[in-house]
């Protein structure tokens, strides 16, 4: 078909406090379109399907190759990266919404700083700062490197949190990504020095205990990070610590 078109609607919101509204768009189809390229076309000529002039759609994006984690949004009701969402693989009309569990800043751009706060709370880093050179760190076994690598591919997109039934304002659950990062840094021979503090942090309100194993995180993760395994793994470490603390402190 020569004049195939792409039909989609976007849930928009001008400011963090204003009411959201829907706008419908129709664009000419061309091969290889993804959701971000739809937005780029709209920015070039911002008119709705009815021909009404509008503003370009606001959204986060950066790498456009599914490694930066910026352009996560709800596409046809599911959390995913807009850059890797190919229009030809999606049912039309496309429904595009911002994440539902994060405060909207404008249109599809949301405030995901809760993940940054969570990563700080579990000390998701390897402490190497000091007043003098400590020399080379301990060697990391290749088997450990392999396990650590897949965890290190987390791009903070927050899809696992958006799709989690336990991640909500009532539980304040920390989410799978943070727990997987705790596992990553606990695995590192130098990072291990903070292991106890990380596990203790994860025992706080909103911690690992709020996981109820719906397993949406591992299904939705665009990087295929073994999130449920990480939660069980760290869950075991947390239990060991809790039991040891009970008998030895």
């Amino acid at each position: 078909m020569a004049n195939k078109s792409v039909l989609f609607k976007v849930k928009r919101q001008a400011t963090p406090t204003s009411e959201p509204y829907w706008e419908e768009f129709e664009l000419a189809w061309r091969p290889g379109l993804n959701v971000i390229s739809l937005f780029m076309d709209i920015a070039e000529n911002p008119v709705t399907r009815e021909g009404k002039p509008t503003t370009p759609i606001n959204y986060d994006s950066n790498c456009l190759e599914e490694v930066c984690g910026s352009c996560a949004m709800l596409i046809n009701g599911k959390a995913r990266m807009a850059c890797s969402a190919l229009v030809d693989n999606l049912e039309q009309p496309l429904t595009i919404e911002p994440f539902s569990k994060f405060p909207v800043i404008r249109d599809l751009q949301v405030d995901r700083s809760v993940l940054f706060e969570n990563l700080k709370a579990i000390k998701a880093w390897i402490p190497i700062d000091g007043t003098y050179a400590l020399g080379e760190g301990p060697r990391v076994l290749p088997q450990v490197q392999e396990q650590a690598y897949e965890l290190s591919t987390c791009m903070s997109c927050c899809c696992c949190m958006e799709a989690c039934p336990q991640f909500n304002e009532s539980t304040g659950f920390v989410g799978a990504a943070t727990i997987a990062q705790a596992r990553l840094f606990n695995m590192h021979p130098t990072g291990k020095v903070l292991k106890d503090e990380r596990l203790k942090a994860l025992m706080g309100d909103g911690g690992i205990q709020e996981c109820a194993y719906a397993q949406n995180c591992v299904e939705i993760c665009p990087k295929d990070i073994p999130l449920t395994k990480s939660i069980s793994d760290v869950g075991g470490d947390v239990m060991k610590k809790a039991i040891l603390d009970f008998f030895r402190t």
Partner: protein, 263 residues
């Protein structure tokens, strides 16, 4: 970034709070909820299914199982600390957990998410069913602690009502599922079974346990309803504990109530 003044005005999207590192009691309560589901509530459930399946062997076998259980030393303490309190905690805290979950199985209709949803709703069903079941079997009507020999009759009489039968079938299926899948959840959350393949196996094992319990439960119900003849109510069972003689003698000793002689 949203300023605090703005977020305060917009209550609809204030967002999820970050981790409250190292504070609060929810870890203890949540893990206690998980533990009580296995011990003692789950263990009691297994005992209960096995004891009730004595009904397969007939009226006398069932009643003598009830005699054994009601005659255990420290029965009241076992009931309070082994059953009532842990069950109440697991149930009440479970309702709180259900209330805080934001079910999204319509948007994400994956198997694990279905199991998550089913675990929540079977929990609610079982809590309502068990509350009724305990009230009726333990506290209402003929008191089985005083009259163990009324046990088979009491269950059979209850199940003769079609609505009650339906409630019991639903209750047995919901309790079996909730426990069987709960064993898998316990193993996953406590870090006993961690790997993907191992968790698949554990999940299957949990579901197999559920199915086994459903089969045992339904056979037991069938034994009450259809396998054995209808039992008659013994008027001696209406006597309270203090005045009634020990249950096995109650039929031999003449009673002041004429109807007890008439039978």
């Amino acid at each position: 970034m949203v300023s605090t003044a703005q977020s305060a005005r917009n209550t609809a999207s204030k967002g999820v709070a970050p981790l409250r590192a190292g504070t609060g009691k929810s870890f203890l309560l949540r893990r206690l909820h998980s533990l009580t589901g296995i011990v003692p509530v789950g263990l009691f459930l297994l005992e209960h299914f096995i004891s009730n399946s004595e009904a397969i062997n007939g009226v006398a076998a069932y009643n003598s199982q009830v005699k054994l259980l009601t005659g255990l030393p420290f029965r009241l303490w076992l009931e309070i600390f082994g059953i009532f309190l842990p069950l109440a905690f697991h149930g009440i805290y479970g309702v709180y957990i259900w209330w805080r979950g934001e079910n999204n199985v319509i948007d994400y209709p994956w198997t694990g998410n279905w199991y998550y949803t089913v675990q929540r709703y079977t929990g609610l069903i079982v809590f309502a069913y068990v509350t009724y079941h305990i009230w009726y079997m333990r506290f209402a009507g003929v008191h089985l602690v005083d009259h163990y020999d009324a046990a088979f009759w009491k269950v059979q009489n209850e199940l003769s009502h079609p609505l009650a039968l339906g409630v019991y079938v639903v209750g047995v299926i919901a309790a079996s599922w909730h426990f069987g899948y709960g064993v898998f959840l316990f193993a996953a959350k406590w870090g006993i079974v961690t790997g993907d393949k191992a968790q698949k196996r554990a999940q299957l094992a949990g579901i197999a346990l559920s199915v086994l319990l459903v089969i045992i439960g339904l056979i037991s119900i069938y034994s009450f309803v259809a396998k054995f003849p209808k039992q008659q109510r013994n008027p001696a069972w209406d006597q309270p504990a203090e005045s009634a003689a020990p249950a096995e003698q109650s039929r031999a000793i003449p009673h002041s109530i004429p109807s007890s002689r008439a039978r």
